[in-house]
């Protein structure tokens, strides 16, 4: 499974749920043209699940889908317990498990690689359902069940790492300002989106 396929499948099934994503999924969603009701945890590895938890606790009736990265989740494994302890409703947490970091830029190994059983960790933390999904067909089949779960639910998406782009013949470019500004812009838009849904004033 490629990350683009996984994100397309999730985007098609999301309904009105908010998506909180980290780097790899963020770029895949950008490429798919998914722009509404999003929040990117960037540049901030490990923040996605907790950002999503806060969104979910604020508006439990509006679902949240977190698309985390494996290296990111490893930085904040305790966040699984924070999520489960607060028992958010309609909270679906994916981790993209490709076994690499700086994926697609210059693939470097992640501790544990693809051997880490994230589903077991999520179950042990207290998530109500946790799956490991290897194919886009299995993801499409599992999504209705996962989205119906009162939550929090979890699924590890085992995907192929995208090929490295950068090296001696093609050094990495300067990072664009947008990467350091988009979380704030998206937060502002999302606050207005929530306010419009709930009839409250955005602050």
């Amino acid at each position: 499974m490629r990350i683009g396929q996984a994100c397309q499948c999730i985007a098609q099934a999301r309904g009105e749920r908010v998506i909180v994503a980290t780097m790899g999924a963020m770029f895949a969603l950008d490429a798919l043209g998914v722009s509404e009701a999003r929040l990117s945890s960037v540049p901030l590895m490990g923040g996605a699940a907790s950002l999503g938890l806060g969104l979910s606790l604020a508006n439990p009736e509006v679902g949240v889908i977190v698309i985390d990265g494996d290296a990111s989740l490893l930085m904040q494994l305790g966040g699984l317990v924070s999520v489960a302890d607060n028992a958010p409703r309609r909270f679906l947490h994916f981790v993209v498990q490709n076994g690499t970091q700086f994926t697609g830029a210059s693939n470097l190994g992640v501790p544990g690689g693809k051997d880490v059983d994230f589903g077991a960790l999520a179950r042990a933390a207290g998530y109500t359902r946790a799956l490991r999904i290897d194919t886009v067909e299995a993801l499409a089949e599992a999504l209705p069940l996962l989205l119906q779960e009162d939550g929090p639910a979890f699924a590890a998406l085992v995907v192929d790492a995208e090929p490295s782009q950068f090296g001696a013949d093609r050094p990495q470019p300067e990072l664009p300002d947008r990467q350091f500004q988009r979380m704030g812009l998206e937060a502002e838009q999302l606050a207005s989106w929530y306010a419009a849904k709930t009839g409250a004033a955005a602050s």
């Binding site: 969104l55 606790l57 302890d85 607060n86 704030g184 929530y194």
Partner: protein, 175 residues
């Protein structure tokens, strides 16, 4: 000053409610034990949200804020030191209003009545200079009259679209 003679937990609760706080997002602090117990005991309508570390607390509070709530992040000085990059990303770069209530864990009695920057313990003396470096406005809470700063902190965080910090300089009293 010793534990039990500072501002009372009930006064803090009242100030939090007057400031419109809806969610108490926390990794507990020794200096604020009395307030934590009051919140855990359900002495107010403010919701308790426990997180495993301060990075998570800052992010959960940001999500709550985006979703229309008024959270406060309740931690101790060591906790702030632990989550600087998350504060940078969420409250400074993304400009999501974030208000902290930070206990001066480890402040020695000999330092009471003097600037905390003169404390012999770095865990205490570094807090205000660090907040200044981050350009985070802050208020010290030493007496009941200082609790008026609670509302000011929220107004400042909202107006500046950034972080603001209230510093609990003495143990909160158990009343």
């Amino acid at each position: 000053m010793t534990a039990g003679t500072g501002i009372g937990a009930s006064e803090y609760l009242e100030a939090l409610q007057q400031a419109g706080v809806t969610d108490f997002v926390t990794v507990p602090d020794f200096v604020q034990l009395a307030l934590h117990q009051a919140i855990e005991g359900g002495d107010s309508p403010i919701r308790l949200v426990r997180t495993c570390n301060e990075d998570q607390a800052v992010c959960v509070a940001a999500g709550l804020r985006i979703g229309g709530r008024q959270p406060i992040v309740v931690i101790q000085n060591q906790g702030l030191y632990a989550c600087i990059n998350t504060v940078r990303a969420v409250a400074l770069d993304a400009r999501i209003p974030t208000v902290f209530l930070i206990g001066q864990f480890g402040r020695e009695n000999a330092n009471l009545g003097r600037p905390t920057t003169e404390s012999g313990r770095r865990v205490v003396s570094l807090l205000e200079p660090l907040l200044d470096t981050l350009q985070v406005p802050h208020w010290g809470l030493d007496a009941s009259s200082d609790l008026a700063a609670m509302r000011a902190a929220f107004e400042t965080a909202a107006a500046r679209r950034g972080a603001a910090a209230l510093i609990v300089n003495q143990p909160i009293a158990w009343h």
